[in-house]
Symmetry: C2
Subunit: 452 residues, 2 copies
């Protein structure tokens, strides 16, 4: 962000409905529309809607392009049908589709009735694609060429197409039935001899993605190839759309936020600016689930009340064994979840991953067991306690490695998100495991513990 805008002054101008002065500021500061939208988002949705109503649809359209999803949704309900329709007309097809998906049915009908037949069908098709599919992210405004064009005519074509297309840097070549037959970058096109034919210079091995493909896989592929854009084809291999780099920025970002949130047992709808009641509502179900699993831990303890009664050091040391298991389990979990997200775990290597995590858990357990065993011995001068600490820690870290890698792999196999609730299960397993193993051993060797 380049310049500072005085938001109080803007608020004042909005209050006074002095929109001429407002637009003068915008033009004088020569702000990027993304920045102007960023500042305007500080206004209340009511004021923002008023601003759009009174300054005209071209301002409305870029605000819609750049404000956050939540704000967009709020303004939508406040705008008049006429303004909304005029804004819709200025948007790209994919943004149009996103917007139409958000309004109620009556408004949908109204907006759709204002569009041309061909565009209406286009939009209806776009909104039919499932969430997170390539189809739901693609734009339908891409530059096209025919393979019998010369470079000369192709450049003229692109010049004519450019104003209306979202991306003219990656250009696709199609046959008469819209089948993808070639690809050429604008860079290569401008370097090519004017008289050569597109079919001579195009790249015939075009890498494309299916319209139903998960957008996260598309993002991975575009990152793999360093692609600025990726063509989308339907089930008959016909070109239907284009995914561009800016979508991929958002997808990589969103995917990472989601995994991080799910690992922390947060709902992905929450943001830092969610109001308190919403945060409470979204977090409570996870806490409740954790409370129920926590009761398992409590229930485990009840079996050993007598032992604890007789040798209270058991109650002192057991949290350390449980805590470390939870930490080690979450380490395995994070490595596996991330590797699954970026496609580094395949059907071929998932047994190897599982085996490795268990082995790492075992080795770490031996080391940490040694440390806690020594501390336990120095503290209580009890070699039996030292021994059962060592064994419990090693065993619990094996459980950590096993559960931390198995749960995300299992969730993936069930076609669920590998991070979904997994940390609760892992922590429960290592808590129950830690308490059970340590207190069981404590009970078995209770006489020795008391005697030494």
């Amino acid at each position: 962000m380049q310049q500072q805008v005085d938001i109080d002054y803007i608020q004042e101008l909005v209050d006074n409905e002095d929109f001429e002065e407002l637009n003068k500021i915008y033009k004088e500061l020569d702000l990027h529309p993304a920045d102007w939208a960023y500042y305007l988002e500080e206004l209340s949705p009511q004021d923002l809607a008023k601003y759009i109503e009174l300054t005209g649809p071209e301002y409305g359209s870029f605000i819609f392009e750049f404000v956050s999803f939540g704000t967009k949704k709020e303004i939508l309900e406040l705008l008049s049908a006429t303004t909304l329709a005029r804004i819709v007309n200025l948007l790209n097809p994919d943004d149009k589709a996103d917007l139409i998906e958000e309004v109620d049915e009556e408004m949908q009908e109204y907006i759709l009735s204002l569009l041309f037949q061909s565009e209406r069908q286009n939009i209806l098709r776009l909104i039919s694609y499932p969430e997170n599919s390539a189809g739901s992210y693609m734009t339908t405004e891409y530059a096209l060429l025919r393979m019998n064009d010369t470079v000369e005519t192709a450049l003229e074509q692109i010049r004519l197409q450019a104003p209306k297309k979202e991306n003219v840097y990656y250009i696709y070549v199609v046959d008469s039935t819209m089948h993808l037959v070639g690809f050429i970058s604008l860079r290569r096109l401008i370097m090519a001899p004017r008289r050569s034919y597109i079919k001579q210079i195009m790249d015939k091995n075009v890498i494309a993605t299916g319209v139903d493909e998960n957008i996260e896989n598309v993002a991975q592929n575009m990152r793999h190839y360093d692609f600025l854009a990726m063509p989308v084809v339907d089930e008959n291999e016909r070109l239907v759309g284009l995914i561009t780099f800016d979508d991929i920025y958002d997808v990589i970002h969103k995917e990472a936020t989601e995994d991080m949130y799910l690992l922390a047992n947060l709902d992905t709808d929450e943001t830092i600016s969610s109001p308190v009641h919403r945060s409470v509502k979204l977090r409570l179900p996870w806490l409740l689930l954790n409370l129920l699993t926590g009761l398992l831990v409590a229930y485990t303890v009840t079996f050993f009340e007598d032992s604890i009664d007789q040798f209270v050091a058991l109650a002192v040391m057991v949290p350390v064994v449980a805590l470390l298991g939870g930490n080690a389990g979450n380490q395995s979990l994070a490595v596996v979840v991330r590797a699954l997200a970026v496609g580094e775990i395949t059907l071929q290597n998932h047994w190897r991953v599982l085996g490795k995590e268990i082995f790492v858990g075992f080795l770490n357990g031996l080391c940490m067991g040694g440390v806690i065993s020594l501390i336990g011995f120095l503290w209580y001068q009890n070699s039996w306690l030292a021994m059962i600490l060592w064994i419990s820690m090693a065993a619990n870290l094996v459980i950590a490695g096993l559960v931390g890698s198995m749960i995300p792999l299992l969730l993936r196999k069930l076609k669920l998100d590998p991070a979904l609730g997994s940390s609760i299960f892992v922590t429960t397993a290592t808590d129950v495991g830690g308490f059970f193993i340590f207190l069981s051993l404590g009970t078995i060797f209770l006489q020795q513990l008391l005697g030494s």
Copy 2:
């Protein structure tokens, strides 16, 4: 990835040093270099080095462009100086610099001595930028125009520059001292009337980034503006480089992985394919730290040994209070860490964030406290136990909200990564807090607990 390659057959050809056949396969399959590199990476570093030595530097250069960082480092040490030098000559300046940073001093000298004076200085400058700065990511191969060019000559210029430049889609206009005076996209350039001057059609308000700017901020800005590339200027506002979209794919991805790893107490150097001994070595320090903090929990328990001895239900219920605190704390932590990473928390709103998290913790604590209180009552038929459970849970979830948001804010203030080790501190605080509050209350009300 488009086609399957039989890696066993490739291994066989490498064993037989049949590189002609190998390259024939590559060309016949018409693979994207990124895919070919992906398959070749399955070979051992020794075999890969052999392949590069015998097939020539052009293969070596794209392999260097596309294989993972770890593999690159391993092959580097296996290549002959001549091959290495020939590969270096084919790389982009930023890839050159990355490579030179990795080799030993003697090899550095040798490679640098093979370059032209101007290029040598360029490379030396590039490797001088600190890690994670815009300077360390930028390319120095960008397209340039002068403002007095006409569109006609500009297009001719770009045509000439294109073969050597990494990006010709965003073009920058500079004055005679390399000061950035304008920007024009190739799309706008090809649409413009042939006779108009660049200065008439260029965008004069160019958004640029400083060479020392943190690359994560650059990524955020490029995502904000939907930029395909971002110009980099030095302290005197002179254009020195360009960050492109493919760097940003990697930066957004890397940043997210780092935060996720740090939240799980993993070293960011670890990957799913790290060998066991390396994973063990990288995870042990975190586990050791957690063990030490776990001893704090154990130490807390020792103060209450007598109470536990007399009323063992305390030992049964205390893990639930601690566990839930840990979960709630990690929820706050994840929200705040992510919001800090994407710049949604500013100096103005961080008190508000802290206040909100504490309040959310309090409300969730009241709810969860109610549930655990009811369960405790039904289990032990003890209304005093129910009461102290309720209070402890509410208090511990307030601690969770406070610590979960305060620690990352504090780490950021200390200019450390907000996720660094924070989950250990949060879990320790909620464990010690949970044990201390619940067991203290249990001790204070011990007579009532025993009496009812």
